[in-house]
Amino acid sequence: MHIGTKTDRRGVPRGSLQGEPGHNRFWEGFRHGIPIGLGYFSVSIAFGIKAVSGGLTPFQAVLISLTNLTSAGQFAGITVIAAGASLLEMALTQLVVNLRYALMSLSLSQKLHASVGTLKRCVIAFGNTDEIFAVASSQRGSLGLRYMLGLMTAPIFGWSLGTLTGAVADTLLPDIVRSALGIALYGMFIAIVVPPMKKQGSVRAVVTISLVISTAFYYIPGLSSLSPGFVIIICTLAAAGMGAYLFPLPDEEEEIRDNPEKESLGAEREKGEKP
């Protein structure tokens, strides 16, 4: 169990990961997580509604949110459940839809303080969502366990409570409100995808390829009989694969170029953080 700690000490040359962590106060992390939690609350209401209308009980919907803590993966997951697909298809869908977390976790592993050993990393891993990762990687210096726990708290509560609210209110909410909330998750996805499209031609190309394939699978007879889970997998593998082939990232030389995602997310965050 100590192998992780050793490689951390050996693999990370920067002194800031030794000594005192740059951020290790629970309440500082908690404060940084509040906006994420509020956003999650409103978006997960839509998830709760969708889950219940797909045949799940409110308890099952909240259980999914508590144990998964991922918007895109859960959204794809209830589609798979509703389609009555196999457990293998579920695992494959989650693997492909959530593959991006592997990259984020890799990046975050470089950001954690040397005092964060393997067991603590296992706890932090649970809360590594797109937004938590974005905020964490935009902080200066290394991060300790307490900061990360604080950062995870509000988002976890917001995501679960919002799901409960949506699931329970489903029957109470009038159709006109439910119809309007159905677009919330898609709105969030668009807000994640569009800003990088503005700056990077490669992302524009990847998104375009994916849109063309997914539209084809939706409308072309024969292709449209394929389950949505596999369509997402096919689109992702094809578009991201072509993107990597056509527009490989620059070779890693310095830390920022080594991790473009970190750079863009960090820049965005700093812009939004200015008081």
């Binding site: 649970f126 898609y186 668009i190 998104v207 997914s214 992702t236």
Partner: protein, 101 residues
């Protein structure tokens, strides 16, 4: 059966997050894999959004209007919350207008 689905979802998602954080502490050197992982979220979110978004509300017109508003606000780099709620508001307003027609 539903709990089996939920268990598979939770375990798969957790392992994806946990394994790289604990095991692979060295940086990825392979340029192609790094690039692929970098493009994955965009490819995946795009495929999930379109054309499904057009069928997310009671009418395709209101959904298309919400889609448009979400794109415009995202181009202005508004927050996730602003974009999501504005899309909802647009769908609501357009559907009320459609009722009047």
């Amino acid at each position: 059966m539903i709990y089996a689905y939920i268990a598979v979802m939770a375990v798969t998602t957790y392992l994806i997050r946990m394994l790289p954080l604990t095991l692979f502490q060295k940086k990825i050197r392979n340029r192609y894999i790094r690039s692929f992982l970098y493009y994955v979220p965009y490819a995946c979110l795009a495929a999930m959004t379109f054309p499904a978004i057009l069928y997310s509300s009671a009418s395709m017109y209101s959904a298309a209007a919400g889609f448009l508003v979400a794109i415009v606000l995202s181009l202005r780099e508004k927050s996730l919350l602003t974009v999501a709620l504005s899309a909802c508001g647009t769908v609501f307003v357009v559907e009320r207008i459609l009722e009047l027609l």
